[in-house]
């Protein structure tokens, strides 16, 4: 089958999403949405690893929520929580995104070329082979990786921008890791988080992810691959053991 185009101009999100679901159920693999403006919940709950949805415009919140398998490519900015509780697949945003990007994500990848808002990666988790990954090209705002229980967040700070210059990074983190170019001001670290220099082996381990991000957005690889990185991780195995329980 070829590609299917939908002109989403003025279309309520319910109708748009019903059409997308019907097309996916009918076996369509390439769906292109033009003139998207504020329609929410695009790609939510859809399945199928060979399905690609291209969004031309600015989608509304909770893009690709609960999605399992497909790829969603946005040519524009995304609103709040793209990749919310996403299970598998890929979200690629050629622009910036709002607050709570990759909120509670449990698998797959979210790539944001520019910047993200507050609480990126909040409550991300992982289980066995499921390990969600969020990569941000520019910077992230405060409370990055808040209450993270697993997964990986990488903030590249391309063009020399500070990856995070606000408070609460990794606040309440008890699993997973946040990786930033160079390092962040220790005053920006949240409670229970600790910043460590990245070893060469650890850097080697994330190289395929960086290369994929570079390919996706056709970026200059050199400054990204040669940069130094730091990891922000839980300060101990159970950083909040004494906060909520008394032993």
């Amino acid at each position: 089958m070829g590609e299917v185009r939908i002109n989403a101009a003025g279309m309520p999100y319910q109708i748009l999403n019903q059409r997308i679901r019907a097309l996916v159920a009918g076996g369509e693999k390439e769906i292109i949405l033009d003139n998207v403006l504020g329609q929410r919940f695009i790609g939510d709950g859809i399945r199928g690893e060979d399905v690609t949805i291209t969004v031309n415009g600015v989608p509304g919140g909770d893009l690709a929520m609960f999605m399992s398998g497909p790829t969603v490519i946005v040519h524009g900015n995304a609103d709040h929580a793209p990749g919310n509780t996403m299970d598998n697949g890929k979200v690629v945003i050629h622009g910036s995104a709002g607050d709570a990007v990759a909120h509670s994500m449990r698998g797959g990848r979210v790539y944001v070329r520019d910047n993200i808002g507050y609480r990126g990666g909040i409550n991300m988790k992982q289980y066995q082979e499921k390990r969600p990954i969020l990569v941000v090209g520019g910077y992230a705002r405060a409370f990055l990786g808040e209450y993270m229980a697993g997964g990986l967040v990488i903030v590249l700070g391309i063009d020399g921008v500070t990856p995070v210059s606000e408070r609460g990074v990794g606040s309440g983190i008890h699993g997973g890791e946040i990786i930033v170019r160079d390092s962040i001001d220790p005053a920006c670290l949240g409670g229970g988080a600790e910043q460590k220099k990245m070893t060469n082996d650890q850097k080697k381990a994330i190289r395929p992810i960086l290369e994929d991000f570079i390919r996706t957005f056709t970026l200059d690889p050199e400054p990204i691959l040669s940069a130094e990185y730091s990891r922000i991780v839980p300060a101990s195995r159970r950083p909040f053991a004494n906060k909520y329980t008394w032993e």
Binding site: L37, G38, P59, N77, H80, S96, D99, G117, A142
Partner: protein, 350 residues
């Protein structure tokens, strides 16, 4: 969850309400059909020197004369008329909206340094707390609030908002969570030339309310947002703070952030927190405030509600969602997300 949008044209070029209606309706999901409203500045040029009082009457026959007697006691009604409304299938008309162009008599408050404004404030507080079948929900000059319990488009069509032309608009789509939705509880909230729309909840409402009531304001709308309108009036109009400093009082830096500031900054921020501790607003919020000269947007200090801004030519836009701004102007390129607690202000050119 609520949806807000504001736009100011700094060159005072007027916009009709049709685009703002579309923008607000694009965020219908943020509301529950229990309240929507608009305020437009610059809509009454023929009566710009008089206070435009918008009133909800429960019953014209019973409640109109007592209100008019009260107004005539404190000043002069220059002109009055029913606010034109158009029946909507999705909106139940509970109240009859009326407008008065009113000139207060300053000699009635001889000891006041701003007698006109104090008379208006007194009348609004008195009428709204007595709840005698009349509610003054708009009391500024050359501006008007239009609101009701309903969806954004229904409320806009009920007032035919597209027939009004203003250089500054605020609009709000309500999702009431803590109190029931009703006409008076819809946003914007207005006092004198101040109008406020708000997404979120002010968990410090009790503290803020006690503080503001000690200055003679009365909270009567069964919802938290009205304290913001009164706090802005107190801090900016009556105490003379700049809008920037007032926002600093509402959403101040944390103490540990103040400790890291240069000494002079530390002194200023400590003074604000100590003097206006009871004006500090806790909880999640994104707020837009306007008066005849400016539009100001800000969020709580840990950014628990969304707010984005954009500029295009003379216009500054502030909204919960980028798509709403693009609904008004599709050529926008410089969308920006302000920092938590950072005031974004657009002023008309003087």
């Amino acid at each position: 969850m609520c949806g807000i949008i504001g736009v100011i044209d700094r060159g005072r070029q007027c916009m009709d309400g049709s685009r703002i209606r579309e923008a607000l309706a694009s965020m219908n999901e943020r509301g529950s059909g229990e309240g929507a409203g608009y305020v437009a500045y610059g809509i009454y040029p023929d009566y710009k020197d008089y206070y435009a009082l918008h009133v909800f009457f429960d019953n014209i026959r019973e409640h109109k004369v007592p209100l008019e007697n009260l107004l005539e006691k404190w000043g002069m009604i220059v002109h009055d008329e029913q606010i034109k409304t158009y029946e909507q299938p999705g909106l139940r008309k509970i109240h009859t909206p009326w407008r008065y162009f009113f000139r207060p008599n300053p000699s009635m408050m001889p000891k006041s340094i701003s007698p006109e404004e104090d008379i208006i404030t007194y009348l609004v507080m008195k009428v709204n707390s007595e709840r005698n079948g009349a509610l003054i929900f708009s009391s500024g000059k050359n501006l008007g609030v239009f609101k009701a319990a309903g969806w954004p488009e229904d409320v806009a069509n009920f007032y035919r908002i597209q027939d009004y032309k203003g250089y500054l608009w605020l609009a709000h789509n309500r999702y009431p969570t803590n109190t029931a939705g009703w006409w008076g509880g819809a946003h914007p909230f207005n006092l004198l030339n101040w109008s406020v729309v708000h997404n979120g909840e002010i968990t410090s409402y009790g503290t803020n309310r006690r503080y503001i009531e000690s200055y003679g304001y009365k909270c009567t709308m069964h919802t938290d947002t009205e304290v913001v309108a009164y706090l802005v009036d107190l801090l900016v109009r009556r105490h003379g703070l700049s809008e920037e400093l007032a926002v600093r009082a509402f959403a101040p830096p944390f103490w540990e952030e103040i400790d890291r500031m240069p000494p002079k900054e530390q002194e200023l921020n400590r003074a604000i927190r100590l003097a206006y501790g009871s004006a500090l607003m806790n909880g999640p919020f994104a707020i837009c405030v306007a008066n005849e000269n400016l539009l100001c947007g800000f969020t709580d200090r840990i950014k628990l509600r969304p707010l984005v801004t954009a500029e295009c030519g003379d216009r500054l836009f502030i909204s919960s969602e980028e798509a709403a701004i693009r609904t008004i102007d599709s050529d926008i390129t410089n969308i920006r997300m302000p920092r938590a607690g950072e005031p974004v202000i657009g002023r008309v050119y003087s």
